[in-house]
Symmetry: C2
Subunit: 409 residues, 2 copies
Amino acid sequence: MTVESSAVLGERTVTPDAQVDRSAGVTAPAGFRAAGVIAGIKPAGKPDLTVVVNDGPSYAAAGVFTTNKVKAAPVLWSQQVLTAGKLKAVVLNSGGANACTGPEGFQDTHKTAEKLAEVLGVGAAEIGVCSTGLIGERLPMDKLLPGIEAAVDALGNEPAHGLAAATAVMTTDNVPKQAVLKHPGGWSIGGFAKGAGMCAPNMATMLSVITTDAIVDQPHLDHALRNAVGKTFNRLDVDGGTSTNDTVLLLSSGASGVTVPADEFEAALTALAADLVKQLQADAEGVTKHVSITVQNAATEAEAVAAAKIVAEDNLCKTAFFASDPNWGRIAMAVGNAPTAFDPSLLDITLNGAAICVAGGKGVDRSEADLSGPEIDVVIDLHAGDASATVLTTDLSHAYVEENSAYSS
Amino acid sequence: MTVESSAVLGERTVTPDAQVDRSAGVTAPAGFRAAGVIAGIKPAGKPDLTVVVNDGPSYAAAGVFTTNKVKAAPVLWSQQVLTAGKLKAVVLNSGGANACTGPEGFQDTHKTAEKLAEVLGVGAAEIGVCSTGLIGERLPMDKLLPGIEAAVDALGNEPAHGLAAATAVMTTDNVPKQAVLKHPGGWSIGGFAKGAGMCAPNMATMLSVITTDAIVDQPHLDHALRNAVGKTFNRLDVDGGTSTNDTVLLLSSGASGVTVPADEFEAALTALAADLVKQLQADAEGVTKHVSITVQNAATEAEAVAAAKIVAEDNLCKTAFFASDPNWGRIAMAVGNAPTAFDPSLLDITLNGAAICVAGGKGVDRSEADLSGPEIDVVIDLHAGDASATVLTTDLSHAYVEENSAYSS
């Protein structure tokens, strides 16, 4: 995909010939190795342990984390180590969130970091840790720790290594999600993400690791990551549930030798993150429709996001999307409950290009809004200002109910 | 049911022998007549027009209405006429919400009130109007206005008239919902309610009319209604959708001749409203579980309500309830996202009496929480203060998805 096609997620400029594709991920930038292995944490014997190593020369890193007050042990750990602004490696496990596990759970995270540090010959305070899976259960450390040794043995910088890393973090995801942006200026950004449910990232998505070989100083790296996440991961809302483990980590090796201006780096990072978010949306639990909710002419961007999210989270709107039903009354109802200033008699709603609600009342006939395909574009014009925002969401299908009532996650 | 069994919805005292039962509704108090007829507004030929008449001698009335910014025409009308604090009659239609219908829709409501006023020989400003059904379509006035004449011809004060009135307001409801409280002091309160989806009442439920023959002055009537609704209708949350038409009207005839102390009246009204809310919960769209979410020891009652509502609206919690799955991690995740101050390391969660999460971590084994029956009691202790609140909700089932994707409402 080109960066233009993801421009719906936020205004930004990228060199036109800098394209995002999905042929590689975290190992595409120079200076990174990765691995994904089967440690035995998941009972089914699927890949469940990922390691990403930054071989430098720079180790500048930044992270954004869940806003949930109930934070998993690895979130507390990674927030703490990132106060120093650098990471030499990250270890991620699926098969257990290590959330609501008390001081023992934090000790497990600490031991995980120490083990990887020992094998790599670095300090534990230079290791990020992420976990995902069931909340409230301790991790099987007798499997996880040997798994780290196996992962380090398997490290490499081929595309296959990046894909293995993206695969071993999956939970209810059906496909691994990775993307790369190779800049014609001689540097690149790569990344993976996982997440399919409990997915309304706030300051971060479920789990994502992004690498770059650009030379960007740590304050600019941090600034770019916060801005990019705000425009991308934070505008995906599958089911309103911000998880206990949401984390996005950005590691830079500086191995390209190219110093990149902050603005240019941020634009490229945003394009890459937008592509990962599109992949998260496409693989959301039970998804049959990819829904884009744009709120135009709100008083502020925050109000535009809030209004779009209340529609994205409304089960009556989501079941109507599932039914391909252009039920704009439910959208008007949802927007009317948003913490957003507007005059209901000016409200316009357009569904896949059909102006079905005009000036707060009936517009063109429902039959003109064709929602039968997989893509649904909702545009809500509040006529209350000049700020806009787009939030991506999905429908509420039988498969969502099936998946979430059959799987204890 | 006795009033004690609904005490979960809020602390209050009622004379122990004042019982709520469902044998009658709005016609039980002296001084009221009602009717429900088939006007032809609904295509299927089902009852769709209700009239409730107050024959006095008092006409004191109060109302509470949706907080949605997109308000239906009948909500705007009824709010306006209630500024005078009295109502001689109410007309309610199902088969169309008359919301998002512009100035023409407001004129339709005005004509509806004028027609009933003319037939009854009263003023239009003494008529309340409520509508429910599809948003965005004009009402068929050629059917509605003759229906008013038919309804007035059918008025009566038998239990059957009250039941017909409760029936003609139904939309996706499966059963009519009414209740009566006959006070041993010689006065009574009766009422009906409708609502099954788009149901997170805020300042009111979908539609409810409550009558009383007690003598209560209008300011006390208004105060009692606001307090009772705050503790009952506003603590039901099926799907987070506060509709455009939510209305609760309270009419008093004074025909019992008994002057009732304000406190006593409010307690009785709260018990009656709590019973109506239990009926709304039991008939919610696709419901297979009746879920009660109690948040204990919050810093404030408002925070307790907010925390309980975020769990009630969370699709991952709701699908787990559907699956009878004691998945407390999802509840911890949801509570962690609430605008509520608490220390996650003190969080306790009890499911049907089993202390499954203790001090922020795993408590008794999941197998000890039996959620296989239709009732699920969730108790969340924040250990952050001494305020508590209970919110009633339902599970998210295949039937909810089916009903809301098959029916354009």
